[in-house]
C-alpha cells in the first residue's frame, strides 16, 4: 500500500468522532434527566445489542471468510437462534433482573444461588480473565487499521513515536467509560448516555460496512456477477464459494461426530449463542440497561436483521481482497485496504471510523460491565468483611464505590493494553475471540439451569463454573500460550511431562477433533456434570431455596410482600433500628434517597423485616445482592445485634416469603376440601330431612287405621246394647283396618330387610303367568271396590324368567295397588306383558293423573310420597314403589314409568304406565318367535 492518509487527519477525524459520541451520550443523559428518554425505544434497544459486533466482526469476519468461506457465519447464526428463544428465556431473565435489582451477570448468578459472594466473585474473576484479552484484540485492531490507513504498514504493530494509538484509544475509552458508565451510583444501574452512544455506534459501523461493500462490488468490480466470475476462475478462491472449507464433505461413517469442520460449525454456533447471553457486555445492554421488557419483541427480529445486513458483503470483500492483493495484505485489513487502493480515501476513513465504533462500543460497555462486577461482587464483599470498622466510620460510601469502579475500569483497560503490547500478533491474540466465548459460556449452565431448575444449588453452581473454567484454561488458554511461544511447544504435541493422555488438544486420547469442539465437549462435561451432580446431592438452606423459588417462579403472582411479614418474631424488635438502616442506605445511596425510603418512621423505631428488606433491595441495586447483605450486617453489627444474627434474620425474611407462597397454595387446597365437605354435608342434611318426612308419614299412616280401630272398639266396648248388624259392620271395619296396618308394617319391615340385605332370595327359573294371576287375584278386591276395570293381556305360554316367585308377585301387587290407588273410580287399569331382547316386560297402565316428567325418577325414591304432591293427601307409605324398584334391580331387571299410550276412552289420554323387566331364563333366541305369535 503506497497510498495513505496523513496520520494527523486520521487522528483528528477519530478524535472528532469520539467527541461526537461524548456529546451524544451527554445529550442523552440530559434528555433522560429531563424526562424525555431517548433510549426508551425498541429500535434503540435492538441497535444497542449490536455491541455484539466488535472489530472481530468488522475486520475479523473478512479474515475468517478469506480462509473458511461461509464459515464466518455461525458466530452470527448462534445469536439469531438465541433471539428466537427470547420470549422464553430472555423475558424471564429480564423479569428476574428487575425484581431482584440485578447489576451484572455475576450478581445474577450470586443472587440466584443464595446470595453467594463466593460464586459472584468467581464469576467476576472468570469473566475478567476471559474477556480482557478480547479487549486487547480491539485495541490491536484499531492500532493496526490506523497504521494501514496512514501507510504505516499493515502487518502487525510497527514501531514509531505515534504508534501507541492503542494506548491513546485505551485512555479515551477509559475516560468515556468513567464519565458515562461510572459517574454516579444509581439504584437502577441505568446508563442512558452510554446506551444512546452504543446504538449510534452500531448504526455507524453498519453504514460503514455497507458503504465499503457497495464500493467494492460495484466500484472495484462490475457487480456481484463479475466479482464471483473472477473469483471462480481461481481454483483457490472458487473453493471459498462452496461449502467445503466450512463444512467439509459429509463425514464418512467411521469418523467421530466432532471430527472436521462439522464440529467447528456446530461448536461455534453453540458458543456464540451462549456468548450472546453470558458476555458481560451483552448481559449489560440486554438485561441491565433494558428499560422495558416489551422492547424484546422488536429486538427478536431487528437484531438478527442487523446481523444479516452487516454480514452481507463479507464474502465479496474477502474475495475482492484476495483477488487484488493476493497474500500481500492481511485479510483482516481488507476493509481499509480495498477502498484505499481504489482511491477512495474518504471511504477508507469511514471504514476506519466504523472499526473504531466497533472497538469503542465493545471496550466501553465491557469495561463498565466488568468494573460493576468487580466492584460489587469481588472488591466490596472483601472490603466489607475485612475493613468493616473503617467503613463503618464513613458516612457516605458512594465516593468509595465510584472510586473502586473507576479504578477497575482503568485497571481493566491497562490490563488489556498490556496484553496487547505483550502478545502483539501472537496466536493468543488472534484466536482470543472464540476462546473468550468459551470462557463465558461456562456461566450458561448455571444461568439457564437456575431459571428452570429449582433444585440447582450454590455448591453445584460453584462446582460447575470452577470445573468448566479449569478445563477451559487447560484445553484452550494454556495451549494458546504454548502456540504463542510462552510455553514449550511440546506441551501441545506430547502433553505435560510427556504424558500423552494429558495433551490439551487431545485430552484422554480424544483425537482428531477441532480444538474448540474438543474444549467445548470437555468443559461442558465437567461443568454440567459438576453442576448437576453436586446439586443433586446438596441440601440447600431455607434462604437459598427461597431465592431459587423467587427466580424459577418469577412469573407466578407474588404474594403480597408486606402482608405475611407483619407478624415478626419477637427477636426482630431487639434488632436494627430505622436509624441504623437509614445510615447504611445513606452511606451508599446518599442521604436524600435514604430519607425518602424511611420517611415517616422514628429513628429509634425497630426496623422490622419489611424495612430491612427494603434496605436490602435498595442496596442490592447499587452494590449487588451479595454485598448488600454483608453491608447491612456489618453496619448494624456495631449496634445491638451481631452480624451473623442479622444475616440469619434476612434469610428468615426471605424464608417467610417462600413460606407464605407455600401457605397460599395450601389455603387454596383447603378451600377446595371445604367445598367438597360442604356439598357432602348438604346431601346428608337433605337425606335427614327426607327421613324425618318419611317417619312422620309412616306414623301418620299407622295412626289413621289405629284411630278408627280404637274408636270402633271403644264404641263396641261401651255400648253392649248395639244391634247385631251395627256390631258386625264395626267389626268388619276393624278387621279391614287391622289388615291395612299389618300390610303397612310388613312393607316397612320388607324395606328395612332389603336395605340391610337381610332378605332371603330364592332365585330360580319361574313361570311368570301364574305369578301374575296370583297378584291379580290378590288385588282384584281393590279394583272391584273402587269400580275400576282391570283388563289383562297375558299370553298363555310365557317363557320362563329368572326370579323369585314371591318377590315378583310382590312387585306386581305393589304396582297394581298403586294403580288402584290413583285411578279414579270408573277408570281402567291394564296389565300386559311384552317380550324384549332377552327380557320380559310387564306393564301396568292406569288412567289416573299420570306422573309428571320431573317426578319420574323421584317416585321410586324410598321416602317419596307421590300421593302428597298429586292429591294433597298421603295415599300410601311411599314404600311400595321403592320396594318394587329394589326387588327388580336385584333380579337383574329395570323399572320405570312412562305416559300411558293414547287409547280409546275419554280419560285414556292421561295416566301412567309403570313397567318393569325380568331377564329371560335359558336361550333368548326363542323370544322373537314368541313375540310374533303373541301379536
Amino acid at each position: 500500500m503506497e497510498v495513505g492518509l496523513d496520520w494527523t487527519t486520521v487522528l483528528i477525524a477519530a478524535l472528532a468522532y469520539l467527541s461526537a459520541l461524548f456529546a451524544i451520550a451527554h445529550w442523552a443523559d440530559r434528555r433522560e434527566a429531563a424526562g424525555h428518554s431517548v433510549i426508551a425505544s425498541p429500535t434503540v434497544f435492538a441497535l444497542s445489542l449490536g455491541v455484539y459486533c466488535t472489530t472481530w466482526t468488522f475486520y475479523g469476519s473478512v479474515g475468517r471468510a478469506a480462509t473458511l468461506g461461509i464459515g464466518f457465519l455461525p458466530v452470527y447464526l448462534g445469536p439469531t437462534l438465541l433471539m428466537l428463544l427470547a420470549p422464553l428465556v430472555l423475558r424471564k431473565i429480564l423479569r428476574i433482573a428487575k425484581a431482584q435489582r440485578i447489576t451484572s451477570i455475576a450478581d445474577f448468578l450470586a443472587s440466584r444461588y443464595g446470595h453467594s459472594p463466593l460464586l459472584g466473585g468467581l464469576v467476576a474473576l472468570t469473566a475478567t480473565v476471559g474477556v480482557t484479552p478480547y479487549i486487547a484484540l480491539q485495541l490491536k485492531a484499531v492500532a493496526v487499521s490506523f497504521d494501514a490507513l496512514t501507510g504505516g504498514g499493515g502487518l502487525g504493530p510497527a514501531e514509531g513515536p505515534f504508534l501507541d494509538h492503542g494506548f491513546l484509544i485505551a485512555a479515551v475509552m477509559a475516560l468515556f467509560a468513567i464519565v458515562f458508565g461510572a459517574r454516579q451510583i444509581d439504584a437502577a444501574e441505568h446508563h442512558p448516555g452510554m446506551v444512546a452512544a452504543i446504538a449510534l455506534e452500531s448504526l455507524v459501523k453498519l453504514i460503514a460496512f455497507l458503504a465499503v461493500g457497495l464500493f467494492v462490488v460495484w466500484g472495484l468490480h462490475d457487480g456481484l456477477e463479475s466479482l464471483f466470475d473472477a473469483a471462480a476462475a481461481r481454483p483457490d478462491l472458487a473453493r471459498l464459494m462452496g461449502s467445503d472449507p466450512a463444512l467439509g464433505h459429509a463425514p464418512t461413517g467411521n469418523g467421530p461426530v466432532g471430527n472436521g469442520p462439522w464440529g467447528a460449525w456446530v461448536t461455534t454456533t453453540i458458543l456464540s449463542a451462549a456468548a450472546m447471553l453470558c458476555l458481560p457486555r451483552q448481559f449489560q445492554v440486554m438485561v441491565i440497561e433494558s428499560v422495558d421488557e416489551r422492547h424484546l419483541d422488536r429486538a427478536v427480529w431487528l437484531f438478527p436483521l442487523y446481523l444479516l445486513l452487516i454480514n452481507l458483503f463479507v464474502l465479496p470483500v474477502a474475495l475482492s481482497g484476495l483477488l487484488s492483493f493476493g497474500g500481500r495484505v492481511d485479510p483482516d485489513l481488507f476493509m481499509v485496504a480495498l477502498p484505499l487502493s481504489g482511491g477512495a480515501d474518504w471511504l477508507a476513513l469511514l471504514a476506519f471510523l466504523g472499526g473504531l465504533s466497533a472497538a469503542a462500543g465493545m471496550i466501553v460497555v465491557e469495561s463498565v460491565a466488568l468494573s460493576t462486577m468487580l466492584c460489587n461482587d469481588l472488591v466490596m464483599p472483601i472490603l466489607l468483611r475485612t475493613r468493616s470498622r473503617a467503613l463503618a466510620r464513613s458516612a457516605d460510601l458512594a465516593p468509595l464505590l465510584l472510586a473502586v469502579r473507576r479504578i477497575a475500569i482503568v485497571a481493566i483497560l491497562l490490563f488489556g493494553y498490556g496484553y496487547f503490547r505483550l502478545a502483539g500478533s501472537a496466536y493468543a491474540l488472534v484466536s482470543i475471540g472464540l476462546i473468550s466465548f468459551t470462557a463465558v459460556a461456562q456461566f450458561a449452565p448455571a444461568l439457564i439451569g437456575g431459571l428452570y431448575w429449582r433444585g440447582a444449588t450454590r455448591r453445584g453452581a460453584i462446582g460447575g463454573v470452577t470445573a468448566g473454567t479449569l478445563v477451559w484454561a487447560y484445553t484452550l488458554l494454556l495451549p494458546s500460550f504454548a502456540r504463542s511461544g510462552w510455553l514449550p511447544a511440546s506441551f501441545i504435541a506430547d502433553g505435560p511431562w510427556g504424558v500423552a493422555a494429558l495433551r490439551p488438544y487431545a485430552l484422554f486420547g480424544l483425537e482428531g477433533w477441532d480444538s474448540l469442539a474438543h474444549s467445548l465437549f470437555w468443559t461442558a462435561l465437567a461443568n454440567i456434570g459438576a453442576y448437576v451432580g453436586l446439586s443433586l446431592f446438596d441440601r440447600p438452606g431455607a434462604a437459598e431455596r427461597a431465592q431459587a423459588a423467587a427466580f424459577v417462579d418469577v412469573f407466578q403472582p407474588a404474594p403480597n410482600d408486606a402482608a405475611p411479614l407483619r407478624e415478626a418474631p419477637p427477636d426482630w424488635r431487639s434488632a436494627a433500628s430505622v436509624g441504623d438502616l437509614t445510615r447504611v442506605v445513606a452511606r451508599f445511596l446518599g442521604p436524600q434517597r435514604a430519607e425518602r425510603a424511611f420517611a415517616g418512621a422514628e429513628p429509634d423505631e425497630p426496623a422490622g423485616p419489611e424495612r430491612l428488606r427494603l434496605a436490602e433491595r435498595l442496596l442490592a441495586g447499587a452494590i449487588g445482592g451479595a454485598s448488600a447483605r454483608v453491608a447491612l450486617a456489618s453496619s448494624v453489627s456495631a449496634g445491638a445485634v451481631e452480624a451473623a444474627e442479622l444475616l440469619r434474620m434476612l434469610d428468615e425474611t426471605s424464608d417467610v416469603i417462600a413460606h407464605s407462597r407455600e401457605l397460599e397454595r395450601k389455603t387454596a387446597e383447603l378451600e377446595r376440601a371445604t367445598d367438597a365437605l360442604r356439598a357432602a354435608n348438604e346431601r346428608l342434611t337433605e337425606l335427614d330431612r327426607l327421613k324425618d318426612d318419611f317417619l312422620s308419614t309412616v306414623t301418620h299412616e299407622l295412626r289413621t287405621p289405629l284411630t278408627s280401630i280404637r274408636a270402633l272398639s271403644e264404641i263396641l266396648h261401651d255400648s253392649p246394647d248395639l244391634d247385631t248388624d251395627q256390631r258386625q259392620e264395626f267389626l268388619a271395619v276393624i278387621i279391614k283396618e287391622s289388615e291395612r296396618l299389618t300390610r303397612l308394617i310388613n312393607q316397612v319391615l320388607d324395606m328395612a330387610k332389603i336395605e340391610a340385605g337381610a332378605l332371603d332370595w330364592r332365585i330360580e327359573t319361574i313361570d311368570v303367568g301364574p305369578a301374575l294371576t296370583e297378584a291379580v287375584a290378590a288385588t282384584e278386591a281393590l279394583f272391584l271396590e273402587r269400580g275400576i276395570t282391570l283388563s289383562l293381556d297375558i299370553p298363555d305360554h310365557l317363557p320362563a324368567v329368572r326370579g323369585d316367585v314371591d318377590r315378583v308377585i310382590q312387585v306386581v301387587v305393589n304396582l297394581l295397588s298403586n294403580a288402584a290407588k290413583f285411578t279414579p273410580p270408573g277408570g281402567r287399569t291394564r296389565l300386559e306383558t311384552r317380550l324384549e331382547s332377552g327380557f320380559l316386560r310387564v306393564t301396568v297402565t292406569d288412567s289416573g293423573p299420570g306422573v309428571a316428567a320431573k317426578d319420574r325418577e323421584l317416585v321410586f325414591d324410598r321416602f317419596r310420597q307421590s300421593g302428597d304432591t298429586l292429591t294433597g293427601k298421603p295415599a300410601g307409605t311411599g314404600l311400595g314403589l321403592a320396594i318394587a324398584k329394589r326387588i327388580v334391580e336385584h333380579l337383574g331387571g329395570r323399572i320405570g314409568v312412562a305416559d300411558a299410550p293414547a287409547g280409546p276412552g275419554p280419560e285414556s289420554g292421561k295416566g301412567a304406565a309403570f313397567w318393569f323387566t325380568l331377564p329371560l331364563a335359558g336361550n333368548p333366541a326363542d323370544a322373537p318367535e314368541f313375540g310374533e305369535r303373541r301379536e
Binding site: 437462534l81 462452496g242 427478536v300 412469573f555
Partner: protein
C-alpha cells in the same frame, strides 16, 4: 405487575410457542446435515448458490419472527 403479559391483543403463550417452533426449524436448517445437503455448487444470478441459500433462509427466519409477533 404482570401487565405486559395481559395485553389483550395477543396471546403470549401462542407467540412463545411459535417462536420455539421457529427456533427448532432454524436450528435444523442452519446446521450441517441440511446445510451441506442444500449447499450445492452452482450460481444464482452470479452469486454462489450456498451463499444465496444461507442468506435467504436467514432472511426468511427473520421475517417469520417478525410476523409471529404481529399476527394472532
Amino acid at each position: 405487575m404482570n401487565a405486559p403479559d395481559r395485553n389483550p391483543g395477543r396471546s403470549p403463550g401462542r407467540h412463545r410457542d411459535r417462536m420455539i417452533g421457529l427456533f427448532l426449524l432454524a436450528a435444523a436448517l442452519f446446521n450441517p446435515p441440511l446445510l451441506g445437503l442444500f449447499g450445492v455448487e452452482g450460481r444464482v444470478l452470479g452469486v454462489p448458490a450456498l451463499y444465496v441459500w444461507v442468506f435467504g433462509l436467514w432472511a426468511a427466519v427473520i421475517a417469520l419472527a417478525a410476523l409471529a409477533g404481529r399476527t394472532r
